[in-house]
């Protein structure tokens, strides 16, 4: 568990997501609601430690982000309250779609992939449109 925590939250330290990878693994050992609670609780020291390290390095967060925080808090409270009463099926599917589309956009924003796209531009118009559509800019 120590190792799982270390590896999963290493990614959290890099800002790449916390419990997402851990939950499927954890749910084999324990019931899903306990697994969720464990993952969320474990996220706290990871997030705190990471932020402290960044603070020590002299980095500071942007004010705009902090101004948007209250909205997130409202969402979290609402989400927590309705969690037991809502079917998560539709939520998972729409979240899954969001993740896949965002994943493709992210992939095409990587410079190496972008370069491949530029090469393909000469050979296929369709590829060019595809690349342009998924480009971050």
């Amino acid at each position: 568990m120590l190792l799982f925590g270390f590896l999963a939250y290493l990614l959290a330290g890099l800002g790449l997501g916390g419990a997402a990878l851990l939950l499927p693994l954890l749910s084999r050992f324990t019931e899903i609601s306990a697994a969720r609670a464990d993952a969320m609780i474990a996220y706290l020291p990871a997030a705190l430690a990471a932020s402290v390290v960044h603070g020590i390095k002299g980095k500071r967060p942007n004010d705009k982000m902090m101004r948007l925080l209250p909205l997130g808090l409202v969402g979290a409270v609402i989400g927590g309250l309705i969690a037991g009463h809502l079917s998560t099926g539709i939520l998972r599917v729409s979240y899954g779609v969001f993740l896949l589309v965002y994943g493709i956009k992210m992939l095409f924003s990587v410079k190496r992939i972008n370069e491949i796209c530029k090469k393909w531009k000469f050979s296929s118009k369709i590829m060019k449109i595809f690349c342009k559509f998924f480009n971050f800019s």
Binding site: L2, A39, Y43, A50, T88, L91, Y95, F98
Partner: protein
Amino acid sequence: MKDGFLMLAAGLLNGLLGTGGGIAAMPVLYAIYRAPKEAHRWVSLLIFPLTVLSLISQKFLPDRFAFPLSVGALFGGLTGAILLDKVSGDTLRLIFSVLLFYTGVRCFF
């Protein structure tokens, strides 16, 4: 407006699923910070209070794994934060896209 909606969605996701808030907030942070590394740097700070609130409002109870996971997580978070500045923005985006795909596909199975 769009940023606000995404932040609300991030909080909702965190509250409902226990995870995913960070990922939903990423487009907002990418827009605010411009540099991907900075967006990834601060997302955990943003999600920290959301997670605390979600835990309180969901009233999920942890089990015996919470403690060892948390200890591992502490060191994982520390290590990740130290490594962040040694990794390029591009590499970060590549790993992130793989994670997004993996998590996205898992939503359907």
